[in-house]
């Protein structure tokens, strides 16, 4: 054969690692991501094993010691029926960390499917579905959730479905615009020139290439799902008593802050804050790693 064979030595400017390994290593180098992950893992640990290291039963009342300020005995004080705030904050992550990820998962699956189909087929169906999704997104999630919960009643399942379906159009929009861009690339035409089925093209050809934006959107949505669950619980439409859920606790205690009983709400508020910020720092890290 001819000397053109020398062409077959690889150019040396290509990385040895695969693209996903590179994302992984870049995540490990991202301080933002690691900080966020640390915070989230802390709360996950509390959700899983909180009971074992909480000093009191988060549900046990103790009327005599009601509304006690923080002390050596009750680090974060007690609430209006004397429950230990510290123990409640520790265990309070459990419900929100079940409901929010499930809602996000539902939103991601539904949104990805919707986005893939509308982006791939385009045309009139896409137009109609997009308009409906757009209209849907115009109404704030909180209000959609509020209405649905009024109609369907309150339960964890309702909250998951409501938040999942409210977020699905947002994820669908992201996926759709990524798919529309992919659709223009010649590898899709090449697949057609092999008589590949639409499903093959969508799921085997296009889907792997739109995973990065889906991942970013999912991590960002997880933050907002926590936001939404907490808000709904605060409004009384989310997680129901007697759960030590943070939003719920704030809702039942904030009426007394005018009286100076700050400890009944402050620690729950800080817990929510740290969890959402943690998730979003991690999401920001993921985004940075995928965009590099």
């Amino acid at each position: 054969m001819s000397a053109t064979d020398a062409q077959t030595s690889m150019p040396d400017n290509t990385g040895r690692r695969g693209p996903w390994a590179e994302v992984f290593f870049s995540l490990l180098r991202s301080g933002t991501f690691l900080t966020g992950l640390g915070i989230v893992l802390f709360w996950v640990a509390c959700a899983l094993f909180g009971e074992h290291f909480a000093p009191y039963d988060p549900l046990a009342d103790d009327i005599i010691n009601a509304l006690a300020p923080p002390s050596a005995e009750h680090w974060f004080g007690t609430d209006q029926i004397g429950r230990d705030v510290f123990s409640r904050v520790i265990v309070g992550s459990r419900d929100i960390l079940t409901v929010a990820p499930l809602a996000t998962l539902l939103a991601t699956i539904a949104g990805t499917a919707l986005g893939l189909f509308t982006g791939y087929f385009r045309g009139i169906v896409d137009d109609i579905v997009s308009r409906i999704l757009e209209a849907f997104m115009a109404i704030p999630v909180v209000i959609v959730a509020l209405l649905a919960i009024v109609a369907l009643g309150t339960s964890k399942a309702t909250v998951i479905v409501v938040i999942g379906l409210s977020f699905a159009p947002i994820i669908a929009r992201t996926v759709r615009s990524a798919v529309l861009a992919e659709r223009e690339l010649d590898y899709v035409a090449a697949a057609q020139l092999r008589h590949e089925s639409a499903l093959h093209t969508m799921f085997v050809e296009i889907l792997p290439n739109v995973i990065p934006p889906i991942l970013v959107e999912t991590t960002v949505r997880l933050g907002y799902a926590i936001f939404a669950v907490a808000t709904l619980s605060f409004m009384g439409f989310g997680i129901q008593p007697p759960s030590p859920d943070w939003g719920l606790s704030i809702s039942s205690n904030y009426g007394m802050i005018g009286g100076g009983f700050w400890w009944t709400v402050l620690f729950d508020a800080l817990a929510i804050a740290s969890l959402v910020i943690g998730v979003n720092l991690a999401a920001d890290g993921v985004q940075g790693a995928l965009n590099d």
Binding site: M1, S2, A3, T4, D5, A6, Q7, T8, S9, M10, P11, D12, N13, T14, G15, G18, P19, L185, D186, Y187, A189, A190, Q192, L193, R194, H195, E196, E205, P208, N209
Partner: protein
């Protein structure tokens, strides 16, 4: 090791090194670069992508990207040390002594400001404002040959065509009468006829103005026509420098020698033998280089080359960074030129016949006739070249043939004598595998999530119906035939270079043993050395598999190399169709004539060139009569505006769409040839 610094130089780079910080490490882009440009001189800097030529431009104006830094050396502009300037002095230098024009004028102009504002602000810097500034701006637009400058002043950039935008950018660059004008690929991306106009303009302005020019281009021919001296850049180092005609006619560095050999020139065709190639790859940025940067790819290299960095040898008015500069031209070919491509058998039945193909798009309520009444036929083993500028419909024709876009009713496509359904979905598996495509951009054509093995195997499975051991055997064979190896199979496309990716795309197209392969600008994204290897490969595969090509390109030399027949397209219509050599030799359609004349050639002998006025009209609103009449230098009169000429047979197998009779065209074009012959 450099020529002695002349104080009069407009620009002087001394030992300049620049690095980009990537992945936490400084990677050298320019390595100890020294060059000088005299007052009023035009200096060309050539090299392939990644050699650092644009970095030179950005360094001179101190506008490196955030991760770039000057790691050593000095830049002196008009005797001023650019590196020592503070912010204000640097601003003044930019305002007064150096200007720059770059690729993609559409992005270089501010989309939300009127042209007038973008021009007058330059004069305001010099204290001229109001009406006086407007007057100066209009004068400047006149100077770059913009007719009706007053109305152009009122427009926004998006309302101007690419050629006009670049004229405006040039006007802005020259507004302050700079001593140094940097042109970084100023015509890359423009259509051939528009490029020719802009280059002419630059050449004319050179006569009128005093500016020295640094002209950066990957196109050797453009530089050879525009510049007095040329420097060849390789891996951030100057490897050869000298007067343009001397360097291009008598190169003294093996890289320059090899680069010039890669270009299809002087009507070279596939049956004349293979093009030469450059083996291996450009060292990546930041690669550690001991000895000569080109040694790994050079057949003349010895141990000395690999260990000892050659200095820039002074050969009397020219420089070469090669220990063996006197032998450079004896560089052995990297690719033997043997293997003459087979020519198609004249009597063979057509493999493809297209009649009356039309495509109309609806665009904002207008009908856009992308393809009008195209009829061609193609014999087995033959290449049909489609040539045209933007809007000519060449890519649309490819998509119509492949069934990716449905044509208008009424046309007819026949594959091996049997009618072919317009839509891909209605074609049989055999018909689909008979016609495949190699796309322009392999990054878009190869799914980046899949390994090379998957990409080719999938095509073999779907198109050849293979599986198991048979698939594996055919895979090996196919991979070898496009000169890839097993090592390439495991990786993903982005881990391969552009040329290797295009080989994968070619392998995929050949998986089902197609009768016809459409090649849509398959080499336009590649450097010339890689382009040559791909063209060789396509020619080899054709002679081996007896496959027919429809070869689309805007590059006439490339089309000529590979094509047996050529169709010249303008605004969706075939203006001329015939055997390749007849179309090139002429007499030809006035548009073909202009197109041929517009292409910059390394061995330019013509003195008078045909230039087309104005821009390519929009396909939504094509001119009446002959669509070319608005720009035709040989327009007859009213008949051209009123009646569309038909494709008339000029000689057997050669048709031309023009009102001028063939004999008359022959006379006119011969006359011109006589006129331009040196006395």
């Amino acid at each position: 090791m450099t020529e002695p610094a002349k104080p009069a130089n407009a620009l002087e780079l001394h030992d300049l090194s620049v690095a980009y910080r990537v992945g936490g490490r400084n990677r050298a882009v320019l390595r100890n670069l020294s060059l000088g440009i005299g007052q009023g001189e035009a200096y060309g800097l050539v090299g392939e992508s990644g050699c650092g030529k644009s970095t030179v431009a950005l360094t001179v104006v101190r506008y490196l990207p955030r991760n770039g830094s000057i790691t050593g050396g000095a830049i002196s502009l008009d005797g001023q040390d650019v590196m020592k300037l503070d912010a204000e002095a640097l601003r003044r230098a930019r305002a007064e002594s150096v200007s720059m024009v770059y690729q993609d004028p559409g992005k270089a102009l501010n989309p939300s400001l009127r042209i007038g504002r973008q021009l007058t602000e330059i004069f305001e810097l010099g204290g001229v404002s109001g009406q006086a500034a407007s007057d100066k701006a209009i004068a400047m637009l006149n100077r770059v040959r913009i007719s009706d400058p007053a109305s152009v002043m009122q427009r926004y950039p998006h309302q101007l065509s690419g050629g006009m935008q670049q004229r405006v950018a040039i006007a802005m660059a020259l507004a302050n009468d700079p001593t140094m004008l940097i042109l970084d690929e100023p015509t890359t991306g423009l259509d051939a006829t528009v490029e020719a106009e802009v280059l002419d303009l630059i050449a004319q302005l050179r006569q009128e103005l005093s500016a020295s020019i640094l002209f950066i281009s990957h196109n050797l021919a453009v530089v050879s026509n525009m510049c007095d001296r040329v420097g060849v850049l390789y891996a951030g180092m100057l490897v050869e420098e000298g007067p343009t005609d001397v360097v291009f006619n008598d190169p003294r560095h093996p890289y320059t020698v090899a680069l010039l050999r890669c270009l299809p020139r002087g009507g070279q065709r596939k049956d004349h033998g293979r093009l030469d190639t450059i083996p291996g790859f450009l060292p990546g940025i930041g690669a550690a280089i001991r000895g000569c940067a080109f040694a790994d790819r050079c057949a003349l290299a010895t141990d000395r080359c690999r260990t000892e960095l050659p200095p820039l040898y002074d050969l009397g008015g020219r420089l070469s960074r090669c220990h063996y500069h006197e032998q450079a031209q004896s560089l052995p070919r990297a690719t033997p030129s043997d293997a003459a491509a087979s020519t198609p058998k004249a009597a063979a039945e057509s493999v493809l016949r297209v009649e009356g193909l039309n495509k109309t798009y609806a665009s904002h309520g207008h009908a856009l006739r992308a393809v009008k009444d195209v009829s061609v036929s193609l014999r087995p083993g033959e290449t049909l070249g489609l040539v045209g500028e933007s809007g000519s419909g060449k890519t649309t024709i490819a998509r119509l043939l492949l069934g990716l876009v449905p044509p208008d009713e009424g046309g007819r496509i026949e594959l091996e004598g049997k009618p072919l359904a317009a839509r891909l979905d209605n074609r049989t598996a055999d018909q689909i595998k008979a016609m495949q495509i190699v796309f322009q951009n392999p990054d878009s054509a190869l799914n980046r999530s899949h390994s090379i093995r998957h990409l080719i195997s999938r095509a073999l499975k779907r198109l050849a119906g293979l599986s198991g051991a048979a698939l594996q055997a055919r895979l090996d064979e196919l991979v070898r035939s496009v000169r890839l190896t097993d090592r390439h199979l495991a990786v993903k496309p982005r881990q391969l270079s552009g040329g290797l990716k295009q080989r994968v795309a070619i392998a995929r197209a050949f998986a089902g043993e197609p009768r016809i392969v459409v090649c849509d600008e398959p080499t336009s994204a590649l450097d010339v050395s890689v382009q040559a290897a791909i063209l060789n490969l396509l020619a080899d595969l054709q002679s081996k598999e007896h496959v027919s090509y429809i070869f689309i390109s805007h590059d006439l030399a490339v089309v000529r190399y590979l094509s047996d027949q050529i169709a010249v397209l303008y605004l969706g219509r075939i203006m001329e169709l015939g055997p390749s050599e007849n179309v090139f030799a002429g007499p030809h359609h006035p548009y073909t004539e202009a197109l041929l004349s517009a292409v910059p050639k390394l061995d330019q002998t013509e003195t008078s060139r045909i230039r087309l006025d104005g821009e390519i009209p929009s396909a939504t609103n094509p001119p009446s009569g002959c669509v070319f009449h608005t720009r035709c230098p040989r327009k007859l009169g009213a008949i051209c505006e009123e009646q569309e000429p038909s494709l008339a047979e000029a000689e057997p197998g050669h048709t031309i769409r023009c009102h001028i009779p063939y004999a008359e065209l022959a006379r006119l074009q011969k006359q011109k040839a006589v006129q331009t012959e040196p006395a």
